[in-house]
Amino acid sequence: MTAPLVETRGLGVRMGGVQVLRDVDFAIAPGEIVTIVGPNGSGKSTLLRAILGSIRPSAGRIVRSAGLRLGHVPQRLVLDPTLPLTVTRFLGLPRRVSVARAREALDRAGLADLGGRQMADLSGGQFQRVLLARALLDAPNLLILDEATAGLDQPGAAAFYRRIEEVRARTGCAVLMVSHDLHVVMSASNRVVCLNGHICCEGAPEAVAGAPVYRALFGEGTQGALALYRHRHDHHHDHAVEAAE
């Protein structure tokens, strides 16, 4: 097996006196799609932020491979209304990109004409696609998504995840994501990690969905939703709707 891109060993995080994560042994390999699920307050975002380096672990360590290039799509980005920012300028933060590269990134994201638009004027779906386009500019080998579809409706979220699958297919980058859209996400993942302060269980989506500890956390209902999603996944008629947005 190839060396993991990122590995945590015995990771523990305390925040404000609360033990948010404990004894987390987690690794993601190149090209793998891993989804972290878990109830609110289970430490999903904390794990992502520790991997990003935004949070200092209180125990254990995080090993990053030498060639690691991170792309990050945050849950949401609150732009202060006093900050003027065009889409093209945003793509060039922190490293300026050529007009041609910015255009190519926008074309690929299906946003060809929006380069001069203010970020604040974008719809929720467009905004998320711009965030993804920016994250991909540096050719990351690990893409981190923190509930990136939180503000989107279900067809919007499904289209977003199909885009993630395309990106993975094209670039081969690994994807690590947190999501509440269990039924949408799980079918797209190679591996699901169920987190609740520690790793409760992990494995292939079907295996995790059937695990007693997972059912205890999410109830029986999600299995039905998963099956429903698998059914819907055969239909691709809402592509055009998202593209025309």
Partner: protein, 265 residues
């Protein structure tokens, strides 16, 4: 020699201060740090008092205490203390201790009033050198860190993913603001420094499509207002620092009205 004229020196001081304050002020606005600017400026009065008591250069004292205040507040707010309350307590405590401290030095009380409200017409050649040196330092730092500062302002997590340490950028901004305060205290005084930081940025906002355009326009407005305010204060015999801020406020009002009208049209 041109610099022999007090009015010329005042205009140069005002322009240099505006040039330093405007880009730094944009970050104050974007990051909602207006109160932080106030706290740093108020602390500078304590620095002035200490300098006068110890016969140190006023600029050094103001810079030192402003920097100490700014760093302390940055570190404490980073640990989850209630930032707003803490800033208020520290800002006004520093101001009060500064004013009380100065009252023991009976012969310099007039000087401290000058630092509360500014005394731009008394700017010496040495002051000019300090102001333009400070402005160059501020512009250099902001220009050097511009993209990283901007990314960290948008989102600390995005900055992390790009290999930028948001705490380091925050500290650089803290240093920049302390220098701006030390430079501006002679020009508009401690009580109006925040106006010099945020009003040009706020007036420039409606006309800017990028952060760079906003900072550039804010700098032009700040320099123009410094010049116009000094002319007006000379003609109307009004205090110079407050007159400059009044001109800036008028710029803001006009900018808001124009952008409001064009949005409705």
């Amino acid at each position: 020699m041109m610099l022999d004229d007090f009015m010329t020196r005042a205009v140069l001081a005002g322009i240099g201060t505006g040039l330093a304050a405007a880009p730094a002020g944009c970050f104050v606005v974007w990051r909602r740090m207006a109160y932080f600017g106030d706290a740093t400026a108020h602390a500078a009065i304590l620095g002035v008092a200490l300098s006068l008591a110890l016969s140190l250069p006023v600029f050094a004292g103001a810079l030192g205490v402003a920097l100490a205040m700014a760093v302390t507040v940055t570190l404490l707010t980073g640990r989850g203390q209630a930032g707003d309350t803490l800033l208020g307590v520290m800002a006004h405590s520093a101001l009060a201790f500064g004013l009380v401290g100065v009252s023991f030095l009976t012969d310099v009380r007039i000087d401290v009033m000058a630092y509360l409200f500014g005394d731009i017409l008394a700017v010496s050649r040495g002051d000019l050198a300090v102001i333009w040196g400070g402005a160059a330092l501020v512009l250099g730092l902001v220009g050097w860190r511009w993209s990283a500062l901007l990314t960290a302002t948008l989102s600390p997590d995005l900055a992390r993913a790009a290999g930028i340490d948001p705490r380091q950028e925050q500290m650089i901004l803290t240093l920049v603001l302390a220098v701006v305060v030390a430079v501006a205290i002679k020009v508009v005084g401690a009580l109006l420094i925040t106006a010099l930081l945020i009003v040009p940025a706020a007036a420039a906002r409606p006309f800017a499509r990028t952060p760079e355009a906003m900072a550039g326009l804010a700098a032009v407005l700040a320099m123009g207002s410094a010049w116009a305010g000094l002319r007006a204060s000379y003609a109307l015999d009004t205090p110079a620092g407050p007159t400059i801020v009044c001109v800036l406020a008028l710029c803001f009002a006009v900018a808001s009205a124009v952008s409001g009208a064009s949005r409705r049209a």
